[in-house]
Structures are given as C-alpha cells and as structure tokens.
Amino acid sequence: METAISCRIYERFLRELEDAGPKGRRLAEELGRLYREDRIRHEQSLVDLYERLAESEA
C-alpha cells in the first residue's frame, strides 16, 4: 500500500537520480516505469532493467 509519505519518498528518489546526469535520468525513467507498473520491488525485473541499460551504454 502506497502512502503519501511513500509516494513522496519515491518521487524524491527518482528526482535525485534524474539530477545525477544522463545515465541517472535514463535510470530514473526506467525505475519510474517499473514503479508505475508496480514491479519496482521485483528483483528479476530490476536485474533485467540494469542489464538492459548497461547494454545500451556499451
């Protein structure tokens, strides 16, 4: 269950990632998408996401 507090924390988390530069912005976008799809707690979804981003960086 998301609360106003948890929503605020997610927002700040994603904003701080965004502010960290292009890599962070891309990471924030993708993590935000997982959050909206309620998959941000899913370990394998996260691993897949990081690997995909790392591959696109190569």
């Binding site: 998301e2 890599k23 990081y50």
Partner: protein
C-alpha cells in the same frame, strides 16, 4: 471534507447485522471483552483498505477464512458506509473491489494510504520491540513498509548482479588458468607431417611420405604390405645358399675317412702286376690242392712220377692260405679305392655346388679352388691306376681339405648373423612396427593438437565474451548500486525528517499526559548503518538519550506509543477526519486516562473519533472530556450490552 454518516456491517467477524450511526461525528463505544467492539474497527479498516491488518502476516489467519461471520459465506459478507459531501454509499465485499463513485474515489484512496487506526497491540509492539521491529511498527504507521520491500528488492538486485559478476570473474580466472595449462606452441599439421616424414625416413621408410594426414591410411597399408610381402634379396639369398652349402660341407668326414683307409692300405699293396700274378698262382694252387684232396693220388698228374702227396698237400694248403691273405688285402684295397673314388666323386660334386654358391655370393677364395684341384688330381691318379701317385695326391687332398675346413669355419662364422643381432626380417618388422606406432602417434598428436587448438579457441572466445559480460555487469552493478544507495539514503533521510517533525507534537502530547514526571527530550532516530532500524530516545531526570524502557512503566510506555501515533496523525493525516483508537489505554492508570481522554477531545475534537474501550471508567472520562471540550453534541456514546453468535453485538446509546 467527506465524513462518515453511517457504518453498516453484515456477516463480518462477530457481527451479524449492525450499524453505527456516526452522523458525521464521533463515537465512543463501550463494552465488555468479546462483545464485538474490535469487529467494528476491523470493518472500518476493511472498508477503506480491503484488508484487516490483524488477519495478515500470521500463519493460519486470513481475511477470506476468518473475515466472514462464522455462519456466513464470503459472499454474504459486506461492509457499507454512507458518506456526506458527497453523499454516497460505498459497499465493499470480500474478494471484489468496491464500486466506488468517482466523487468518492479521492477520499477512499486517501483512507487507503493513511494510518488512522491504532490498536493496543501496535502500541505494545512499538514500544517493546527491538529497533528493527520498532522500525517496522513505525513503517506500518507511516505506511512505509512498501518502501522497505522496494529497498530490499533494490538491494537483492544489486547483490544478485554482484554475485553474478563475481561468478563471471571467477570463471574468467578459471579460463585463464586453463589457457595457461594448454601447450603454448602446439605444432601445426605441416610441422607434424614434417616430423613424421623425418622419423619414417630414419626407420627406413623414406619412400613413404605423408603429404597430408589424409595419407595416413595409405602409408600405413604400404608399410604393412612391405612386412607381409617379403621382397626378394638376391644377394642375401645367395649368401644364405652359400651358408647352407658351407654348413653342409663337401663331405669332408667321409673323404677324410676314405683317404685315411686308402693311404693306410696302399703302401703294402704291390704293383698291380704282382697282385694279378699272385691271384693267378693262388687259383692254380687251389686247383692242385683240390685235385690232390679229391684223387688222393700219390703221382704227379703231369709227370706221373710218384710224389709225396701228403707233404705236397700240406705245402699247397699253407701256400694257398698265404695267397688268400694277399687276396683278401687286395679286396680290401679295391674296396677302399672304390670307396675313395665314390667319395671323391661326391666331394667333387659338392665342391662344384660350393663354387657356384661362392660365385653367386660374389666371394672368391683359394681354399676351395685348391681343394678342387687336389681332388681332381686324385681322381686322375686313381683312374690311371697309379697307387703311389694317387697316395701322394691323397696326401695333398688331405692337406687341402684341412686348409679348406679352416677357411670354411671362418667363412661360416662370417656369414652367420651375430648371435646378439636380430634377423634382418625381424629388424624390418620391428622398424615397420615402429613406423606404424609413429603414424599412430602422429595421428594422436594431430588430434590432440586439433583438440588443444579448438579448446584454446573456445576458451579464448569464452574469455572474450566474459570480459565483455563482466564490463557490462560492472556497469549494471554501478546502476544497481546507485539506485539502492540513493533509495536507502532518501528513505532514511525522509523518515528521519518525519521523526524530527514529530518531535514537537510528541513532546507536547507526552508533556500533557505526564506533567512534571521527570522526562526530558523525546526523539526517534534512524540508524544510518542499518537498513530499517529506529531507536527511541528519551531524557529522564537529567539523563539524556536513554531508552524509555529503562525508566518507563508499562503505562508510561503505552502512553508514549499513543503519543507517537497521535503525533503521526497530527503531522501526516492533514484534514483526514477519521481517527480510530481500539482499546488503547488498559495499562494506563486512572489519572492518566483522564488526561488521555482530555487530550483526545482537546487536540482531535475536530476529527471523527471512533474510540472503543472495555473500561467503563474511561468511558465516563471520555464523556466528561466531550463536555469539557464542547464536543458532546457531535459525539455519540454507545454501549454494547451483549453479544451472541447468532445475533452479534447489541448496540445501544449509553444512558
């Protein structure tokens, strides 16, 4: 602001069919233990969240099985509420989302996100918990448990990537070790072929050459053919035949014996004429002797003169005996000569065969020629009937034979293979076997070299892939680490900020409940070193930063927990109206309960309070507090008289 007008509960927990008339105000609900007060609290929670927290997280408990009344099915169970502003009725059933009017949706969503229900069990858990458990209790109040699950997911994803990268690095080291173990300078096919051809030549198979490893079978077959089909070697065969002839000899023993017999007899033999005359005489004398014996006459048959027959016969017999001796010797001599002639004949034949063998073997020698000359001369002299000459020749033959025998022994020794050396055929077979083994070894070396090459290529390929994969995983790990560390920091900072924000309200509420009781500053601290850990600190008579459990009574600790919750509500629930307290003060003494009642209506009188208690005295305290704070008009004080399984709680207004 949307307010609750009426709560209606059917077939839920211990309630069969009951309603609570909030009328947009507060309700204080009194009743003994087990009369269904908490079931109404559960119904409010179910209405807003679709869940009942006391039925979650404990094995064997579930809303589906324990939410419905014991005589009802999940289908019968429902909780509904009438609201004002907007005026709507909301009904929630088990296992199905409610049909929420759009106008009511924000209110319901907010209710699902806020913490507005406090149960005594939560107070106990919070105060007496370890820091991590207390954090979880706090997280429940904040609604931050989902943050923890997210943080855990981010951490596990990072750890998984790190494990994966460490595994890949270990595999990389393993591959490097295996590459180092492979021969650095594995020969290529061309080098292997050259080596094999050199070795074949060394073994005497220079005519067999491997142009490629495709020739292996053909070369192997050619070598085998060379062993099984022995090629003619005229020189070797001639030498073999010579050796056979030499070992067979020229009949030297019979020749030597015949020569010895002949030479033994010959000196005693007279001339051939003498021997003939003696035989003629012998025949005459024999006939005379026989005549005298047969006729027994005493007269000479020739002259008819009287003779001394007896004496004559005696002389004749003696002389015949002497002459017969000579005759016998002559016979022996003749036999010896005949035998010698026969032996010489045979020897001549053998010498000719030996001469041919010598010529074929390309060997010339004097001993055989000399022997042959001596034998020829012997034969001539014997044919000529010249005993003296032949005896001389026999002596020369014996000498020549002795020299020939010496030469023959030496030649046989020279022609025979050395005792330690193997026969030529064996040597060739051995060489062929070595060549075949060499080919097999070359084939194995080639296969091994090919395998080594393939393994090197495969490992090198895997190494390259792993290098690339590790580089990618490092980038992924950096992202995962950044996400986790950022989330952990943001969450801790935000929660600490919440704690800091709570501090003033917490202190004010606690001061109100416990005036002049020696406590100092209150705080809740996040432990940055730990994930999800909260420490509770409180000063006490000059000692700061102590764990409240060190000095607080159970009642003090319960009221501290209540103050924390109320501070939360004050800080985070904004104008959300509902505040539910389920039997939260049983351990607090009467004076402090009065203060709690006052605090609630003084600080939260503008809320829709729903307070349950089994304590009749505190029930009255709450009524008094309503009057003191002017909230009696908007608060209903209800009591549950009794509860039964079939009828549920009987609720009535308090007298």
């Amino acid at each position: 602001m949307t307010r609750l007008e009426r709560l209606h509960v059917e077939a839920f927990r211990g309630i069969v069919d009951s309603s609570l008339p909030f009328d947009c105000g507060s309700i204080v609900l009194g009743g003994g233990n087990g009369t269904g007060k908490t079931a109404f609290v559960d119904a409010v929670e179910f209405l807003y969240t679709g869940a009942v927290s006391t039925l979650e997280g404990t094995q064997g408990l579930s809303l589906r099985h324990h939410g419905p009344h014991i005589h009802a099915t999940p289908h019968d169970t429902h909780v509904s509420a009438d609201f004002d502003q907007p005026h709507f009725t909301l009904t929630r059933r088990l296992g199905a989302p409610p049909d929420v009017p759009a106008a009511l949706e924000p209110h319901l969503q907010e209710g699902g996100q806020l913490s507005f229900i406090l149960r005594r069990s939560q107070l106990q858990q919070f105060i007496h918990a370890k820091p991590a458990d207390r954090y979880r209790s706090m997280a429940e109040l904040i609604g931050a448990d989902s943050l923890d699950r997210t943080e855990l997911g981010l951490k596990r994803a990072r750890d998984e990537l790190e494990r994966s990268m460490r595994g890949a690095e270990a595999r990389l080291l393993d591959i490097e070790a295996r590459l180092a173990a492979l021969p650095e300078d594995a020969l290529d096919e061309r080098e292997l072929l050259a080596q094999a051809n050199d070795s074949l030549a060394d073994l005497g198979f220079g005519e067999q050459r491997l142009e490629s490893f495709g020739d292996l079978d053909a070369v192997r077959a050619a070598i085998l053919r060379g062993v099984t089909e022995r090629r003619p070697d005229p020189r070797a065969e001639a030498r073999a035949r010579l050796l056979t002839e030499l070992q067979r000899g020229v009949g030297q023993e019979p020749l030597r014996n015949a020569l010895a017999t002949y030479r033994e007899l010959t000196p005693d033999a007279g001339t051939g004429a003498n021997r003939s005359q003696m035989l003629d005489l012998l025949n005459v004398l024999r006939r005379g002797r026989d005549y005298l014996r047969e006729t027994e006459t005493d007269r000479c048959p020739l002259c008819q003169q009287e003779i001394e027959a007896r004496a004559l016969l005696s002389r004749l017999t003696k002389r015949v005996a002497e002459l017969e001796e000579v005759s016998l010797f002559q016979q022996r001599l003749d036999r010896a000569r005949d035998e010698l002639e026969a032996v010489v004949q045979d020897t001549s034949g053998r010498i000719r065969a030996l001469e041919r063998a010598l010529t074929e073997a390309g060997i010339s020698d004097r001993a055989t020629g000399a022997l042959e000359n001596a034998v020829s001369m012997l034969r001539e002299s014997m044919r000529a009937g010249a005993p003296i000459e032949s005896m001389e020749m026999a002596g020369r033959v014996a000498d020549a034979l002795a020299r020939w025998e010496t030469w023959c022994r030496e030649s046989v020794a020279a022609l025979q293979p050395n005792a330690g050396a193997e026969p030529e055929e064996d040597v060739r077979t051995q060489a062929a076997n070595s060549a075949l083994a060499l080919l097999q070894q070359a084939s194995v070396q080639r296969a091994q070299a090919a395998r080594d090459r393939q393994e090197r290529e495969r490992l090198q390929g895997e190494w390259n892939s792993l290098q690339s994969a590790i580089a990618q995983r490092k980038r992924a790990l950096e992202l995962a680490h950044t996400a986790y560390v950022t989330f952990n920091r943001v969450k801790n900072e935000e929660i600490q900020r919440i704690y800091d924000d709570l501090r003033d309200d917490l202190a004010r509420f606690y001061d109100f409940l416990h005036p002049g009781e020696g406590h100092g500053a209150l705080s809740i601290e996040m432990d940055p070193r730990k994930r999800g850990s909260s420490d509770l600190r409180m000063g006490f008579y000059g000692r700061g930063e102590e764990d409240p459990r060190a000095f607080g009574s159970e009642g003090h600790l319960d009221s501290l927990g209540l103050c924390i919750f109320l501070a939360f509500v004050r800080r985070f629930n904004g104008d959300w109206p509902l505040l539910v307290l389920d039997d939260v003060v049983p351990s607090i003494d009467a004076p402090h309960k009065q203060r709690v009642a006052t605090l609630l209506f003084q600080e939260f009188g503008d809320h829709q309070l729903f307070i349950t208690t089994h304590d009749a005295r505190w029930f009255n305290d709450l009524r008094r507090a309503q009057q003191e704070t002017g909230r009696e008009q908007e608060t209903k004080n209800l009591v549950i008289d009794s509860w039964s399984l079939d009828e549920g709680p009987k609720v009535r207004p308090a007298a």
